[in-house]
Amino acid sequence: MGMDAFLGFASIWARKEREIVARSDAAASDCRTAMPSSLPSDVDPLLFPTPRGGDAPSPSSSSFLEPPSYADVVFSPFESSNGASDQGPFLRLDASPRSARAAASDYLRIAVSDPQTEVEAANSLVPGGTTYVTYLITTRVRPGSDDAGPEFSVRRRFRDVVTLADRLAEAYRGFFIPPRPDKNLVDSQIMQKHKFVEHRRLALEKYLRRLAEHPVIGKSDELRVFLQAKGKLPLPTTTDVASRMMNGAVRLPKQLFGEWAAAQVAPQDIVQPAKGGRDLLRIFKELKQALVNDWGGVKPSVVEDKEFLERKEKMQDLERQLTPASQQAEALIRSQQDVSEIMGGLGLTFIKLIKFETEETVYSSQRIRAADTKNVATAAVKASRLYQELNAHTVKHLDTLHEYLGLTIAARSAFSDRTSTLLTVQTLMSDLTTLNTRVEKLEAASSKIFGGDRSRLRKVDELRETIRVTEDAKSCAIREYERIKKNNRNELDRLDREKHDDFLSMLKGFVINQVGYSEKIASVWATIAEETSRYARDNN
């Protein structure tokens, strides 16, 4: 919530500030630098300074700072090697590992914009119709990738995003899929609608970009279709819920009455987790298996390996630490924003005071005081702007914390895919053991009767058929389990590699920005302190 609230404040604040400043002669000359109200979101903050027009660093800054001066790093003029001086939307700098990864994606840039309200179609049950919001999603594709056309635009609503997320979750089990933005909060007031829409727009943009940056999911059909298919989103909204429901209702009695063959679960369905579906018997069985695993005397033959369990534990630990870190980062940004606002407000209040006092100055002491006040007011407004810019950078850097928190949650989901598949495997193996035992018993009983027991032997045949089907399902399940294990391992390796670089980059960026901007702010105030030092001398 921090970033969007901040950006909202920034634009309102900058506008208000410009209005009052423009009206006052006193401040106009110093405060006319045009500051963009929000910073470009694509650019690496380490190397890209905000274009500040004519506001050169004060001459005292170079002697004031020891080399290396990070103020210079932060504020060095923008090199022409990067093309146009103001950011083009498609600019990429290699400085951060994140942008290097982003450059490898098939999608160079995804932008979410232009929220529009549309009325629900005529099949709405509510008279008068409900409304929903659609967003324009513009994608620029990397030249050389298979699709024609450099740029696509589609309109999507949030429901489509949920569909996309659900389909990805099914198709890419075991992967750390970036979590999608939250659904509607229960009490989103109508007054807040504009803010809410803006918040969601930003969240969608982040989400889609993260998907695009994922080495596997970025290349998925589901994402491609979402970004490029015009008109209605051609992804199934659910996986056969209706048919599952039907099947489940039909199957259960058959299973209970022992008509196994007809009621057996199809092997390809085995790869989906039991819980999401309607196969009630399967759910019961797996539940029983889970209990047996925990409480039974005999350990199942297939279990998790220790190395995985250790890595899973580490991931949970990381999640536990990232949660407060992410929250405190938000709080810090809000506090910095508050200071910036009040500082600016103070400056403006002083300017109003000066205006009042200089309406008719009578005494020279008044004039002197007005001049002093003007300097302080100007400094306060400058400092306020610098704080705001610093905050904009801080938001971007600390966003890494939120991102990795999302990843640990995605990891949890990926691990539970694995766990549930393993449970399915174990359940099927238990099933097979049971079935085989029954076959043995029946055959033994049958052999005692001369010529064989026809009914028993028929039973054996049925059971053998069931065993065959179950064996198929087991193979499917094992294959799936191995696949998920591989995905888990690859993702864990990837995360370990990237996390180090990303965290380091975050810390470095955060620190450098704090240093650079603090130096700048210090020099603004040092000038004022110098100019007013005679008042302190007089006192002593």
Binding site: A329, V339, M343, E360, L507, Q514, A522, W525, Y535
Partner: protein, 405 residues
């Protein structure tokens, strides 16, 4: 101009051949101590007077005073020195809980110190006998003096004033005048407009300054919490990266302390002077009221004197035996009217002088406040830059080493 600290006292042992020391009177209000119990608890201060003026009992005198003693002095001066802007007192505290907080006590002590020293350096006020009483008498005498002033119906002087106001209103109605009499001097109008408007603007500025103090405190708190979270994160990360997180956390906590310090500095040396400015303007408004009253009295007495004169002439013509009596009354009234006029003119003269002093004093006070503000902010920003800069070597070390280290 006035600094919260005392100027260093002259050495008491001076060579007899050295030229006579310049006259000085310097006072300090120190050592707040809580006395009494429960509801009647209060803070007492040590008031130390250092002077070489002959009117005083010696080179140094120490007395114990409480807030209500300062109020007594203020009110006496306000009564006797109409036309002069009496230095303002810090407010009574409305909230019981806050009354004994360290911050409040320190702010009040500083304000009282400034108050008494301003009186001591005002050319007229410093000669006040009440000031000498305040600075030198023992506590019992002080208490007696104070209790004489308090009563349900306030001071007798106030009572007379209220009576006179009522009288004026009645005569207004009788004479058919409904509007209160006011000066029409354009300079006076301008000044009045200026003072009243100034109060509003200053109050707004002071509020912003107070909010800034609060935000500094909040930022300090956020930074401290952030630092703790970073440290925990570092504990669960790897070797060199974990160290960087820990270092970041440690610096955050360090800066949090510096922020709290700067918040305090802002409060005492920037917000308080602004509040003081507001109080000073409010004190000027009181002087305006005094002037308006004096003007009204002057006008009305002049009016009634005129009427009496006309009446006297009439009686003279009629050769009435009431002439004697009327003449005596007329003479009394005329004297009173002249006195009222003189009082009014004194106030006008004093105010004109005071305004100049006020503007100069405020320029100096504000200049100092701005200086403290800027100095504090510059120092804070530098401390922040230094703290974060010291983390960079660890970050560099981390980039060089193996990423999986």
């Amino acid at each position: 101009m006035i600094s919260p600290e005392t100027s260093p006292p002259r050495s008491s042992s001076q060579s007899p051949r050295s030229p006579p020391a310049a006259p000085f009177l310097s006072i300090s209000v120190t050592d707040p101590v809580k006395l009494g119990n429960g509801v009647q608890a209060y803070i007492s201060y040590r008031v130390i007077t250092r002077t070489n003026l002959p009117e005083f009992q010696g080179p140094e005198k120490i007395v114990i005073r409480r807030y209500s003693d300062f109020v007594w002095l203020h009110d006496r001066l306000a009564e006797k020195y109409k036309g002069i802007f009496i230095p303002p007192l810090p407010e009574k505290s409305a909230v019981e809980k806050f009354r004994f907080s360290t911050e409040f006590i320190e702010m009040r002590r500083q304000a009282l110190d400034i108050f008494i020293n301003r009186i001591a350096s005002h050319p007229e006020l410093k000669q006040s006998e009440d000031l000498r009483t305040f600075l030198q008498e023992d506590e019992e005498t002080m208490e007696r003096a104070r209790s004489q002033e308090t009563g349900i119906f306030k001071k007798p002087a106030d009572l007379i004033q209220i009576f006179k106001d009522v009288q004026t209103k009645v005569s207004d109605v009788v004479l058919g005048k409904e509007k209160p009499v006011e000066e029409t001097d354009p300079e006076y109008e301008k000044l009045k407009h200026y003072i009243f408007g100034l109060e509003d603007h200053l109050a707004e500025t002071q509020k912003q300054a107070f909010r800034l103090v609060k935000r500094h405190r909040e930022l300090g708190q956020s930074l401290s919490d952030f630092g703790k979270a970073m440290k925990l994160l570092g504990a669960c990360e790897g070797n060199s990266l974990g160290k960087v997180f820990s270092e970041l956390g440690a610096k955050s906590e360090l800066l949090s302390i510096k922020l709290q310090k700067e918040a305090h500095n802002l409060l005492m040396n920037f917000e308080e002077p602004l509040k003081d400015y507001v109080r000073a303007v409010q004190s000027i408004k009181v002087t305006f009221a005094d002037r308006a009253n004096a003007f009204r009295q002057h006008c009305e007495l002049a009016e009634t004197t005129k009427l009496k004169e006309i009446n006297l002439d009439k009686l003279n013509l009629m050769r009435s035996d009431k002439v004697r009596e009327a003449e005596m009354e007329y003479r009394e009234l005329k004297a009173e009217s002249e006195q009222a006029t003189r009082r009014f003119e004194t106030i006008v003269r004093l105010m004109n002088e005071e305004i100049v002093r006020f503007q100069e004093q405020k320029t100096a006070d504000m200049g100092l406040a701005f200086h403290q503000f800027a100095k504090g902010q510059a120092k804070l920003a530098n401390d922040i830059a230094d703290a974060w800069r010291s983390v960079l070597p660890k970050i560099e070390a981390c980039s060089v080493s193996s990423p999986h280290g």
